[in-house]
Symmetry: C2
Subunit: 321 residues, 2 copies
DNA sequence: CCACTAAGCGATCAATTGCTCAATCGCTGC
DNA sequence: GCAGCGATTGAGCAATTGATCGCTTAGTGG
């Protein structure tokens, strides 16, 4: 119908255009096919691809009453500076899916600030989801992104630690990974790493971060630290016996949010998030198994802000009354 | 399935939740119906309502190559400070639909700035669309919104002029309407209005605006000024004979962007956007009939930024080559 | 040069969705 | 008290959509 003189649109361009016509324009896939001069099946695949690759962002522009109430309750109970509760996505669904857009929006608030900031980040699935949901094209060259946690895994795989890198790539900000083992095999090895001047500089930068975003891990039998091979079954058992319920940036804490003095905490690299900071320290976490961990981190004010979902928020309040 | 203890969710809450489950969660309407405990038809109506009421925002997160090229070409040709070109929504569609999200994003950039700004706005369908697409919940109490154009219509209807009010309502910013006739019946009446001290204060505020957002109207036979009854057929004919092609905030200009010295310009209230400002003056406009008007406003630098759509961008470049 | 693999394409078909219509509900005014 | 009126509801149905399958094509390695 409309003649398009596109010389050579990339596949992504075509997918984006199809998604735009479908979701914003409200055209049917048949019309899109006709407009783009392709078969209907191809149009359908383009639309689906646009969504899958995150070319189309969908955000909820209404504060659902029940969620606002939970935010208020959490803020009051734990004295939070920021709190967002995303609506439930239904029983079968993944908490990370639900909180990723809200977490991204929260993060973008800081990205858009005009004063230069140092933004410190942990790792984990929740943060990964957040980064994927951040809009690209927000230029943030004036901010610095620094990792709180080491990027050397026991098996050498670094795939899980590119949160800062992926983000830096998206927003074109300088970034500072933490080139130390997540957990060294001995306290001495850890100390040796941290004695090196280049690493000291990264650590100092992370310590002076203006804003902190971290996931919160549980220390139950399905602990991420165990699944990813950072702690052994025996170490986990020992720390559980010592009261471990959760972990932030690899540092394990008890039910009341106090850090353990034993176990892998003596060998954990990177920067520990100190309780009671006056700067924003936002926890991003959702899921039934994380409830005690989240409650602990909030109680001790390891984090003073929270992004979570509806069932988790309810459970945390029920647990911590 | 999941038990929801919602005491009394409002209709909007329910719609928002349904939309969230559908668009973000990817559930089918049957599942949503089951989850919310309503019939499938009701779920479908809630989802549709969520979209219609703008509770769900969809944004394209990819710069389509062809649009980027047009932005570059317009920027180079007219020396613009900002330029956004939204993809075509297809032949039958309305240009305003296409540019509203992009315009809103542009506007939100300024809203989010931490320094207090004076933001001046015109009127028109394009600005109205932009305002509707602005996310609510961006607190902007520190900015001031001021209208460039009078809010007294010949027939007394003010429905068209609530752009600033609607916006102020959304972002909770103080706002300053311009309580003068859009176009007075005599130059003397206009002068009398502008001599009043309270009006002088609003005018002064608008003159010192840090950022300006305006629509661009055409002066062809379907001119908005004529349709809305601000000028008579005879006045339009006379101004067309004098070379009128477009209008910004009610002030009529010629093909080269110079303001007319005749016609209603001698009686137009409010603040004229002066050519060549050093502050951002963003035009929001799309549509085949507006092409000469847009080209004129760009040529004379009445606006130094533009948000438009793909076919309009092509046409403007073709005309002003 | 040929076999093999992976990716993309179009057709068919079942599931999902959105629209129309008649019935019901709740409210207003007589 | 009841007729009238608008809004809301559920049922049925047609259009739209997404998945599967076999086929073709392009690229790879022997």
């Amino acid at each position: 119908m409309s003649t398009r003189p596109d010389p050579e649109p990339s596949l992504q361009d075509e997918a984006a255009r199809a998604g735009w016509l479908y979701y914003v324009g409200g055209l049917t896939q048949d019309q899109i096919a006709q407009d783009l001069g392709v078969s209907r099946q191809r149009a359908q695949r383009l639309v689906s691809r646009a969504m899958a690759e995150g070319l189309i962002h969908v955000r909820l522009n209404h504060r659902i009453g029940a969620c606002v109430d939970l935010e208020k309750a959490l803020t009051a109970r734990f004295g939070l500076t920021r709190c967002r509760v995303a609506p439930d996505l239904g029983p079968g669904s993944d908490g990370v899916r639900a909180i990723a857009p809200a977490a991204a929006a929260e993060f973008e608030r800081f990205l858009r600030m005009s004063d230069p900031l140092v933004l410190a980040l942990g790792t984990g699935r929740a943060l990964r989801g957040m980064v994927d949901a951040v809009s690209d094209g927000i230029a943030a060259e004036h901010h610095r992104l620094v990792s709180l946690i080491g990027n050397i895994a026991p098996d050498g795989s670094a795939s899980f630690f590119d949160v800062v890198m992926r983000l830096a790539d998206k927003v074109r900000a300088p970034h500072y990974p933490m080139p130390v083992p997540v957990i060294s095999s001995t306290p001495e090895e850890n100390a040796a790493f941290h004695a090196l001047p280049p690493i000291r500089r990264v650590v100092d930068l992370a310590r002076q971060a203006d804003v902190i975003f971290v996931g919160i891990g549980q220390m139950s039998d399905d602990a991420p630290l165990l699944k990813d091979g950072f702690v052994t079954r025996e170490e986990l058992d020992a720390m559980q016996a010592a009261g471990a319920v959760g972990e932030v940036a690899g540092w394990v804490f008890r039910r009341d949010g106090r850090y353990l003095e034993v176990g892998t905490n003596r060998r954990t690299g990177g920067v520990r998030v100190e309780p009671g900071l006056d700067r924003p320290a936002i926890g991003i976490a959702a899921g039934a198994t994380k409830v005690p961990a989240i409650a602990g981190a909030l109680t001790a004010r390891i984090v003073n802000g929270l992004v979570t979902d509806e069932p988790t928020a309810r459970a945390v309040l029920a647990l911590a009354g």
